[in-house]
Amino acid sequence: MIVMTDQLLGQWNYYLVIILMMIGFYGVIARGNMVKKIVGLNIFQTSVFMLYISMGKVAEGSAPILTGDPTTVYSNPLPHVLILTAIVVGVSTTAVGYALIIRIQESFGTIEDDDIIAQLDDEEETA
């Protein structure tokens, strides 16, 4: 019993990651509003950032700054650095996404998936 609780509680970060991941993924798939899709995408990406950052944590480890003391335990800085890159990528993706949404609003007058599809279907019929 203790082992099981230990396993469950000891991996709480993964549960958090998976819950966030699913919330974000649901937002991407189920929402027709494009801004909400991007928000979902951001939550989805953030869950992955957390997956990486939490794996870099070493028990009792300090921030990875050289202290000169050879017995110091450091957390692994590499996942943090990777995620720094991934955050930049995420920000750029969000920026491109919102830029597209602005253009879509300008030319369709809506940012709802269904309305856009309906407009395009009408166009096909008249064409």
């Binding site: 991407v28 494009m34 890159t85 990528v89 597209l100 949404i101």
Partner: protein, 497 residues
């Protein structure tokens, strides 16, 4: 200088990109792009022959930091084969872009257009060269983000480009994120991101569920990126509404690079011996591949918009590459490499020729090309040869790749699959015939706009057609290179080819 070639071919387009963005006036930005892609093409050809001459893997250490701490660029038989495809198509598409972009993009945006164009090429070259798994992700996003922008630039003529680019962005990002999740799990298990190092350390943890999950995430993410059926829904609208030059570039390179990365990860890192790989991924890829071949071909048969028609046919052709991968043998992989190479040439030729029609007529549909065989015979003949190569008619490059694909399937005794591959290839005749019939057997309707062709319009497409025929008639060097590429991942067995 010579030892820096592996990095130069990525750096040149990357560095030229901001300059292109600053340049005004359509020919200046184009000229810079033309020279840069030309140089990248020359470098990748030089690398190909250098690698063939040495016969072993060339490693370039960035900033002299040795692997696994530093990032290395790897030129082996596989990357040396794929690099000239990307830079070559990039170069010839740039050659054609001068007219296509002038016709389709607002003159004020040309600098930005070529900036994104160069970035997407740099990103693809990087993905193929790098030996670091996280580096692949970064290059993947560089090429994808600029590709979203390029697709959206079709909005000047066709506003449907905008939702197409948006959906492409959403699915592309989901795919790339899946890849990163898989990578995170691998890093947790092994503590390394270097591909060669990963391959060495993975066997110690290959029985864990985490390793299998990592493989599943990576494969799924790349399936999305390579538009494997049924994850292909972003591809057709994106190709159909993008500017014609972008369609030609992306259709021949973007998905191919993802196929290459999939091969590199699945065979180069996990390896054929990885538990569950042959059953799970192999079987899945085979099934989806053949399903995609039929669905894509059938959808192409009923399509009337030429860009959409050949985009659907791309789904089918990607299915054949997937079948080659799923065969899990050296011959299968060689067939996948051959088809990757040949399909890039055929689709490049087709989309460049169609682009020239679309740039003049606004759209390229069955109606637009009705009776066009007499008006623009040279362009239509290029489309005809491209179509014949897609079917796999002998003397075209398409025949060679289909031949080796079916051979790979027969080696494994997949008789049914070989039969289905043959049938779906033959079905492609239906949509090619539809084009022949419209262009040559029907009269040009009264009042239809007059289509024109000049040498500068059809030469880029014809370069690709000639290459398709050339590699179809004299295939030996290409087949050798493809087998060398396959043997990077699956060592050759004595007596086998």
């Amino acid at each position: 200088m010579m030892q820096h070639l592996p990095i130069l071919q990525v750096l040149l387009p990357l560095l030229a990109s901001p300059f292109a963005a600053l340049l005004r006036g359509r020919d200046v930005a184009w000229g810079l792009t033309f020279v840069t892609t030309g140089l990248a093409f020359l470098i990748s050809i030089a690398l190909f022959f250098q690698q063939r001459a040495i016969g072993e893997t060339m490693i370039y250490e960035l900033g002299n930091w040795a692997a696994p701490l530093g990032i290395v660029y790897v030129i082996d038989a596989a990357s040396a084969l794929v690099l000239p495809v990307i830079s070559g198509i990039g170069f010839i598409a740039t050659l054609a872009a001068r007219q296509l972009v002038a016709a389709e993009i607002d003159a004020r945006d040309h600098g930005l257009f070529y900036a994104a164009w160069l970035l997407t090429i740099a990103g693809m070259m990087g993905q193929v060269t790098t030996g670091d798994a996280f580096n692949i992700f970064v290059f993947l996003e560089i090429s994808s983000l600029s590709a979203y922008a390029l697709v959206a630039m079709g909005a000047g003529r066709d506003r449907r480009a905008l939702p197409a680019a948006f959906n492409y962005l959403i699915l592309g990002t989901v795919g790339a994120t899946f890849y990163v999740i898989g990578l995170g799990l691998l890093y947790m298990l092994t503590g390394t991101l270097n591909l060669a190092d990963l391959a060495e350390r993975l066997p110690h943890v290959e029985e864990t569920r985490a390793a299998f999950t990592a493989m599943a995430f990576i494969a799924l993410g790349l399936f999305l990126k390579m538009a494997l059926f049924p994850l292909h829904f972003w591809l057709v609208p994106a190709y159909a509404h993008a500017p014609s030059a972008v369609t030609a570039l992306m259709a021949s390179t973007a998905t191919k690079v993802s196929v290459y990365v999939l091969i590199r990860l699945i065979f180069g890192v996990f390896g054929v011996e990885f538990p569950g790989l042959a059953d799970a991924v192999g079987l899945l890829v085979l099934t989806l591949g053949i399903a995609g071949a039929f669905v894509g071909t059938l959808a192409a048969i009923v399509e009337t918009d030429l860009k959409k028609l050949f985009a659907q046919s791309s789904i089918a052709q990607l299915g054949y590459m997937a079948i080659g991968i799923g065969a899990m043998s050296a011959t299968g992989l060689a067939a996948a490499f051959l088809h990757l190479f040949n399909h890039a040439l055929m689709k490049g030729a087709l989309f460049l020729a169609i682009g020239m029609i679309a740039a003049q007529a606004g759209r390229a549909t069955m109606g637009t090309i009705q009776g066009a065989g007499k008006q623009i015979p040279i362009t239509m003949t290029a489309i005809l040869f491209g179509g014949l190569a897609l079917i796999g008619v002998p003397l075209t490059a398409g025949f060679i790749s289909k031949l080796y694909l079916i051979r790979a399937l027969l080696e494994q005794n997949f008789w049914l699959l070989a039969g289905l591959t043959f049938i779906s290839s033959a079905l492609a005749l239906a949509y090619v015939w539809k084009i022949i019939e419209a262009a040559w057997l029907q009269p040009r309707p009264n009042g239809a706009p007059v289509l024109r062709e000049t040498a500068s319009q059809y030469i880029p497409a014809w370069i690709m057609v000639v290459a398709t025929l050339g590699f179809g008639i004299y295939a030996t060097p290409l087949v050798e290179a493809a087998f060398a590429a396959a043997h990077v991942f699956i060592p050759s067995v004595a007596g086998a080819n």
